[in-house]
Protein backbone atom coordinates (compact mmCIF):
# COMPACT_ATOMS: atom_id res chain seq x y z
CA UNK A 1 0.00 0.00 0.00
CA UNK A 2 1.11 3.55 -0.73
CA UNK A 3 0.98 5.47 2.55
CA UNK A 4 1.39 9.16 3.37
CA UNK A 5 1.91 10.37 6.92
CA UNK A 6 1.35 13.73 8.54
CA UNK A 7 2.71 14.74 11.95
CA UNK A 8 1.12 17.71 13.70
CA UNK A 9 2.84 17.82 17.09
CA UNK A 10 6.36 18.57 18.24
CA UNK A 11 8.92 16.08 19.61
CA UNK A 12 9.10 15.11 23.33
CA UNK A 13 6.10 17.28 24.28
CA UNK A 14 3.80 14.85 22.50
CA UNK A 15 3.91 11.22 21.43
CA UNK A 16 2.71 11.89 17.87
CA UNK A 17 6.19 11.87 16.34
CA UNK A 18 7.25 8.73 18.23
CA UNK A 19 4.12 6.89 17.14
CA UNK A 20 4.50 8.06 13.54
CA UNK A 21 8.13 6.91 13.49
CA UNK A 22 7.26 3.46 14.81
CA UNK A 23 4.34 3.26 12.37
CA UNK A 24 6.55 4.16 9.39
CA UNK A 25 9.19 1.65 10.44
CA UNK A 26 6.62 -1.11 10.83
CA UNK A 27 4.94 -0.25 7.52
CA UNK A 28 8.29 -0.30 5.67
CA UNK A 29 9.19 -3.65 7.25
CA UNK A 30 5.87 -5.04 6.01
CA UNK A 31 6.76 -3.93 2.48
CA UNK A 32 4.51 -0.88 2.24
CA UNK A 33 5.72 2.29 0.59
CA UNK A 34 5.79 5.65 2.37
CA UNK A 35 5.00 8.32 -0.22
CA UNK A 36 5.85 11.24 2.04
CA UNK A 37 5.99 12.30 5.70
CA UNK A 38 4.62 15.82 6.11
CA UNK A 39 5.33 17.95 9.18
CA UNK A 40 2.74 20.58 10.08
CA UNK A 41 1.69 22.69 13.09
CA UNK A 42 4.24 22.21 15.89
CA UNK A 43 5.30 19.05 14.02
CA UNK A 44 7.80 21.22 12.15
CA UNK A 45 9.92 21.23 15.32
CA UNK A 46 10.78 17.60 14.57
CA UNK A 47 13.09 18.96 11.88
CA UNK A 48 15.28 21.21 14.05
CA UNK A 49 18.95 20.32 13.89
CA UNK A 50 19.41 22.31 17.13
CA UNK A 51 17.58 19.61 19.07
CA UNK A 52 19.82 18.07 21.70
CA UNK A 53 18.12 15.60 24.03
CA UNK A 54 19.92 14.03 27.04
CA UNK A 55 22.16 11.15 26.00
CA UNK A 56 20.03 8.53 27.74
CA UNK A 57 16.94 9.55 25.76
CA UNK A 58 15.96 8.79 22.17
CA UNK A 59 17.00 11.38 19.60
CA UNK A 60 13.74 11.90 17.73
CA UNK A 61 15.18 14.21 15.07
CA UNK A 62 18.25 12.06 14.34
CA UNK A 63 16.01 9.00 14.21
CA UNK A 64 13.92 10.57 11.41
CA UNK A 65 17.09 11.58 9.54
CA UNK A 66 18.39 8.02 9.69
CA UNK A 67 15.08 6.49 8.62
CA UNK A 68 14.99 8.92 5.69
CA UNK A 69 18.54 7.98 4.66
CA UNK A 70 17.91 4.23 5.00
CA UNK A 71 14.66 4.22 3.04
CA UNK A 72 14.93 7.35 0.85
CA UNK A 73 11.96 8.85 2.67
CA UNK A 74 10.63 12.24 1.59
CA UNK A 75 10.40 14.29 4.82
CA UNK A 76 8.69 17.59 4.06
CA UNK A 77 8.30 20.52 6.46
CA UNK A 78 5.57 23.12 5.79
CA UNK A 79 7.25 26.43 5.00
CA UNK A 80 4.61 28.69 6.56
CA UNK A 81 4.41 26.66 9.77
CA UNK A 82 8.22 26.39 9.88
CA UNK A 83 8.93 30.11 9.47
CA UNK A 84 6.43 30.92 12.24
CA UNK A 85 8.41 28.67 14.56
CA UNK A 86 11.97 29.54 13.57
CA UNK A 87 12.73 26.48 11.45
CA UNK A 88 14.64 27.42 8.32
CA UNK A 89 17.21 25.88 5.99
CA UNK A 90 20.02 27.00 8.33
CA UNK A 91 18.80 24.75 11.16
CA UNK A 92 17.09 22.03 9.16
CA UNK A 93 18.20 18.50 10.11
CA UNK A 94 19.52 16.09 7.48
CA UNK A 95 16.96 14.37 5.31
CA UNK A 96 14.27 17.06 5.67
CA UNK A 97 13.24 19.64 3.09
CA UNK A 98 11.07 22.73 3.41
CA UNK A 99 8.20 23.14 0.97
CA UNK A 100 4.60 24.27 0.68
CA UNK A 101 1.30 22.88 1.90
CA UNK A 102 0.65 21.69 -1.62
CA UNK A 103 2.97 18.81 -0.80
CA UNK A 104 0.50 17.64 1.84
CA UNK A 105 -2.44 17.89 -0.53
CA UNK A 106 -0.48 16.10 -3.26
CA UNK A 107 0.42 13.29 -0.83
CA UNK A 108 -3.25 12.99 0.13
CA UNK A 109 -4.24 12.71 -3.52
CA UNK A 110 -1.57 10.20 -4.47
CA UNK A 111 -1.47 7.89 -1.47
CA UNK A 112 -3.94 5.11 -0.76
CA UNK A 113 -4.04 6.23 2.87
CA UNK A 114 -3.10 9.47 4.61
CA UNK A 115 -2.41 8.74 8.26
CA UNK A 116 -2.38 11.64 10.73
CA UNK A 117 -0.51 11.68 14.02
CA UNK A 118 -1.61 14.58 16.20
CA UNK A 119 -3.54 15.65 19.23
Amino acid sequence: MLIAVTINEGPYQHQASDSAYLFCKAALEKGHEIRRVFFYNDGVNNASSLTEPPLDDRNIVARWSKLAADHKLDLVVCVAAALRRGIRDENLAAGFRISGLGQLVEAGIEADRLVTFGD
Binding site: A80, G102, V105, I109
Partner: protein
Amino acid sequence: MSEGTIKKFMFVNRTAPYGTVYALESLEVVLITAAFDQDVSLVFMDDGVFQLKKGQQTKGIENKNFSPTYRALDGYDVEKLYVEGEALAARGLTEEDRYDVEKLYVEGEALAARGLTEEDLLVDVTVMSRAELGKLMDEMDVVLTF
Protein backbone atom coordinates in the same frame (compact mmCIF):
# COMPACT_ATOMS: atom_id res chain seq x y z
CA MET B 1 1.72 14.81 -9.76
CA SER B 2 -1.62 13.18 -10.37
CA GLU B 3 -3.24 15.60 -12.78
CA GLY B 4 -6.99 15.51 -12.75
CA THR B 5 -7.48 13.25 -9.73
CA ILE B 6 -10.17 14.63 -7.45
CA LYS B 7 -10.48 13.22 -3.98
CA LYS B 8 -12.90 13.98 -1.20
CA PHE B 9 -11.04 15.91 1.50
CA MET B 10 -12.72 16.61 4.81
CA PHE B 11 -11.34 18.99 7.41
CA VAL B 12 -12.65 18.38 10.90
CA ASN B 13 -12.27 21.47 13.05
CA ARG B 14 -12.59 20.74 16.75
CA THR B 15 -10.78 23.56 18.53
CA ALA B 16 -11.69 27.12 19.50
CA PRO B 17 -10.44 29.75 17.03
CA TYR B 18 -7.89 31.22 19.45
CA GLY B 19 -5.91 29.67 22.29
CA THR B 20 -4.18 27.29 19.90
CA VAL B 21 -3.09 27.74 16.28
CA TYR B 22 -5.02 24.73 14.95
CA ALA B 23 -7.98 26.68 13.53
CA LEU B 24 -5.82 29.15 11.63
CA GLU B 25 -3.47 26.52 10.25
CA SER B 26 -6.41 24.30 9.32
CA LEU B 27 -7.84 27.13 7.24
CA GLU B 28 -4.51 27.46 5.45
CA VAL B 29 -4.64 23.81 4.37
CA VAL B 30 -8.29 24.19 3.34
CA LEU B 31 -7.45 27.05 0.98
CA ILE B 32 -4.55 25.18 -0.60
CA THR B 33 -6.65 22.02 -1.00
CA ALA B 34 -9.38 24.03 -2.71
CA ALA B 35 -6.75 25.57 -4.98
CA PHE B 36 -5.84 22.01 -6.03
CA ASP B 37 -9.46 21.67 -7.23
CA GLN B 38 -10.24 18.95 -4.73
CA ASP B 39 -13.69 18.18 -3.32
CA VAL B 40 -13.43 19.99 0.04
CA SER B 41 -15.76 19.68 3.03
CA LEU B 42 -15.38 21.37 6.38
CA VAL B 43 -16.85 20.08 9.60
CA PHE B 44 -17.10 22.10 12.79
CA MET B 45 -17.64 20.19 15.99
CA ASP B 46 -16.78 20.44 19.69
CA ASP B 47 -15.33 23.92 20.43
CA GLY B 48 -14.63 24.19 16.69
CA VAL B 49 -18.13 25.62 16.26
CA PHE B 50 -16.80 28.84 17.85
CA GLN B 51 -14.62 29.34 14.77
CA LEU B 52 -17.77 30.40 12.90
CA LYS B 53 -19.15 32.63 15.65
CA LYS B 54 -20.19 36.10 14.53
CA GLY B 55 -18.64 39.18 16.13
CA GLN B 56 -15.18 37.88 17.02
CA GLN B 57 -13.03 40.58 18.61
CA THR B 58 -9.40 39.70 19.00
CA LYS B 59 -7.80 43.03 19.80
CA GLY B 60 -7.51 42.26 23.48
CA ILE B 61 -5.45 39.11 22.87
CA GLU B 62 -3.41 40.70 20.07
CA ASN B 63 -4.27 37.91 17.64
CA LYS B 64 -5.35 38.42 14.06
CA ASN B 65 -9.10 37.98 13.57
CA PHE B 66 -9.14 35.55 10.67
CA SER B 67 -12.85 34.76 10.85
CA PRO B 68 -13.73 36.87 7.76
CA THR B 69 -11.89 34.24 5.72
CA TYR B 70 -14.70 31.75 6.37
CA ARG B 71 -17.08 34.09 4.59
CA ALA B 72 -14.71 34.26 1.64
CA LEU B 73 -14.40 30.50 1.19
CA ASP B 74 -16.98 30.56 -1.56
CA GLY B 75 -15.29 32.34 -4.41
CA TYR B 76 -12.10 33.40 -2.69
CA ASP B 77 -9.34 34.97 -4.74
CA VAL B 78 -5.96 33.30 -4.15
CA GLU B 79 -4.11 36.55 -4.86
CA LYS B 80 -5.26 37.72 -1.47
CA LEU B 81 -3.49 34.90 0.31
CA TYR B 82 -0.40 36.11 2.04
CA VAL B 83 1.65 33.03 2.98
CA GLU B 84 1.34 30.42 0.31
CA GLY B 85 1.30 32.71 -2.70
CA GLU B 86 4.68 31.48 -3.88
CA ALA B 87 3.67 27.86 -3.46
CA LEU B 88 0.64 28.48 -5.64
CA ALA B 89 2.72 30.27 -8.27
CA ALA B 90 5.18 27.38 -8.29
CA ARG B 91 2.30 25.10 -9.20
CA GLY B 92 1.06 27.27 -12.01
CA LEU B 93 -1.98 28.62 -10.16
CA THR B 94 -3.05 32.22 -10.62
CA GLU B 95 -5.70 34.58 -9.34
CA GLU B 96 -8.03 33.09 -11.91
CA ASP B 97 -8.21 29.90 -9.87
CA ARG B 98 -11.02 30.53 -7.47
CA TYR B 99 -11.84 28.52 -4.44
CA ASP B 100 -15.07 26.67 -4.28
CA VAL B 101 -15.75 25.50 -0.77
CA GLU B 102 -19.44 25.35 -0.15
CA LYS B 103 -19.71 22.30 2.02
CA LEU B 104 -19.75 23.50 5.59
CA TYR B 105 -21.19 21.13 8.17
CA VAL B 106 -21.75 21.86 11.83
CA GLU B 107 -22.53 19.29 14.47
CA GLY B 108 -25.93 20.12 15.95
CA GLU B 109 -25.16 18.63 19.36
CA ALA B 110 -22.02 20.78 19.69
CA LEU B 111 -23.97 23.94 18.86
CA ALA B 112 -26.73 23.13 21.33
CA ALA B 113 -24.29 22.28 24.11
CA ARG B 114 -22.78 25.76 23.75
CA GLY B 115 -26.06 27.65 23.59
CA LEU B 116 -25.55 28.57 19.92
CA THR B 117 -27.88 28.45 16.94
CA GLU B 118 -27.30 28.87 13.20
CA GLU B 119 -28.19 32.55 13.68
CA ASP B 120 -24.97 33.05 15.65
CA LEU B 121 -22.77 31.90 12.76
CA LEU B 122 -20.89 33.94 10.15
CA VAL B 123 -21.80 31.76 7.18
CA ASP B 124 -24.56 29.50 5.97
CA VAL B 125 -23.94 25.97 7.14
CA THR B 126 -25.61 22.60 7.12
CA VAL B 127 -26.31 21.46 10.66
CA MET B 128 -26.04 17.71 10.97
CA SER B 129 -26.32 15.28 13.83
CA ARG B 130 -23.29 13.43 15.15
CA ALA B 131 -24.60 10.23 13.56
CA GLU B 132 -25.12 11.87 10.16
CA LEU B 133 -21.62 13.33 10.25
CA GLY B 134 -20.26 9.89 10.99
CA LYS B 135 -21.85 8.57 7.80
CA LEU B 136 -20.51 11.52 5.80
CA MET B 137 -16.97 10.91 7.10
CA ASP B 138 -17.26 7.34 5.92
CA GLU B 139 -17.63 8.59 2.33
CA MET B 140 -14.41 10.64 2.43
CA ASP B 141 -11.03 9.75 0.92
CA VAL B 142 -8.93 11.94 3.20
CA VAL B 143 -9.90 13.24 6.64
CA LEU B 144 -7.68 15.77 8.43
CA THR B 145 -8.50 16.85 11.97
CA PHE B 146 -7.38 20.06 13.60
